[in-house]
Amino acid sequence: MARADAENELLRAVARGDPDALGELYRAFERPLYSVGMRWLSDPKLAEELVQEVTFRIWRRATTFDVRRGAASSWIFGIARNVAADLARERARRPIAVADPPRVQETLDEEKAWEAWQVSLELKRLPRQQQEIIELAYGRDMTQAEVARTLGIPLGTVKTRLYAGLKSLRRSLVERGVVEESSR
């Protein structure tokens, strides 16, 4: 089953009240949700709130999901955007200390967030061993030698898994339209 179809099917199962499907959907979308939460709200507590609130809304509103109007991923992203806007508005009403930097992004950068959202989703679908190397290399800015030391594996293994992971990721991102198809 194609990735998007699998997500749509999970959401339909959630609409039937299947808590296991909700758990599976949650695990697929937790990281993308948290990432857009951090991108838009720049606050770990609010990013957690966003994850929680979006999950509630998925559970409550799954019966309104209509695949003819878009895929599950787009539907959930739309919910996340609305929740982020709500949380940003609520936070704007709270007093902040004078020394604090501005905490509310005036507009939500949807295009970049959508791109990051899809990268997170596709990353999650890679084999765990490739995923963790990509996260360390590009999320924590580690060199390959540092990744090898951190994971306790040979440098050659890091190179092989990183290359394979990036190639797989590229194929998926081409499929999602995040990066362009090569003209080669």
């Binding site: 609409a15 509630f56 559970w59 409550r60 970049k112 290399a137 999320g139 390959q144 590229r170 080669r184």
Partner: protein, 255 residues
């Protein structure tokens, strides 16, 4: 000259500038003569550029999944069936008043939370919250002067709403009186806990359980300065003996 298969494994290191000068020069020499590897480099360059702006540095905390999924199971499911933790309660009983069972953590015995279950019929909104709080105060005896009203915000769409009041007692200490509607039945192995939070950390004001009904009033002595702990939280904690706050937030407010 290196073979293409060797070069390609080094493409990510080349793109991130990890190759030493000599290796990078050899790499350049190969790329100048190999269109296939150059094309491969271009493709991976696009992917790594996207990755570097995709927020990979942000990882959700490990406890979040358990917290969120635990809270969601308190909800009726999308088909309208009761949540797994409330299915033993009839809808009628949940709408007609809630009885509260107080559970005091031994270490917190001094900071006893006083809870009162009100059998009053629930009216449609929170407009009568103040009346209930005052009734609660009367029932408890002279508790002091109201300092300020507290507006709680629910964490997530739990359907819980609450208001409260910070009260200064005659002895100079403070007490928080909270009136809440819609707190879900406490799931097995859990309890609700009231916290005060500030820059110095978290202080528990006591714990309680909700067994049935829909509305409740509680009164918590505050053993610390509200100025130093300006936030009130109600969380759902696992009965794991851990005195720290680890469970998800249900309600929160600023004093």
């Amino acid at each position: 000259m290196k073979r293409c298969s060797e070069v390609r494994l080094d493409l990510p290191a080349y793109l991130s500038g990890e190759l030493d000068h000599a290796s990078a020069a050899a790499f350049d020499e190969h790329l100048a003569a190999c269109g296939a590897c150059l094309g491969e480099l271009s493709e991976l360059d696009l992917v790594t550029a996207v990755l570097s702006h995709s927020g990979l540095e942000h990882s959700p905390p490990g406890h979040l999944e358990h917290e969120v999924l635990t809270l969601v199971t308190l909800e009726p499911d999308p088909a309208g069936r009761e949540g797994s933790s409330t299915k033993d309660l009839s809808r009628a009983s949940r709408l007609q008043g809630r009885s509260i069972r107080l559970v005091l953590a031994p270490a917190l015995a001094a900071a006893a939370v006083t809870l009162a279950a009100f059998g009053m019929a629930w009216r449609s909104d929170l407009s009568n919250a103040r009346d209930r709080i005052q009734a609660m105060q009367q029932q408890l005896g002279p508790t002091g002067a109201p300092v300020r009203a507290i507006s709680f915000v629910e964490s997530g769409s739990t359907g819980v709403s609450a208001r409260g009041e910070l009260v200064r007692q005659p002895d100079g200490n403070h007490r928080i009186v909270v009136w809440a509607k819609g707190l879900p039945h406490t799931p097995a192995g859990h309890h609700y806990e009231v916290w005060l939070s500030g820059e110095q950390g978290w202080v528990s004001a006591g714990s309680f359980q909700v067994s049935d009904g829909n509305s409740m009033t509680l009164s918590c002595p505050v053993g610390v300065s509200p100025a130093a702990y300006p936030e009130v939280w109600i969380t759902l904690e696992p009965d794991d003996g851990d005195p720290r706050r680890t469970g998800p937030s249900v309600l929160r407010a600023s004093l």
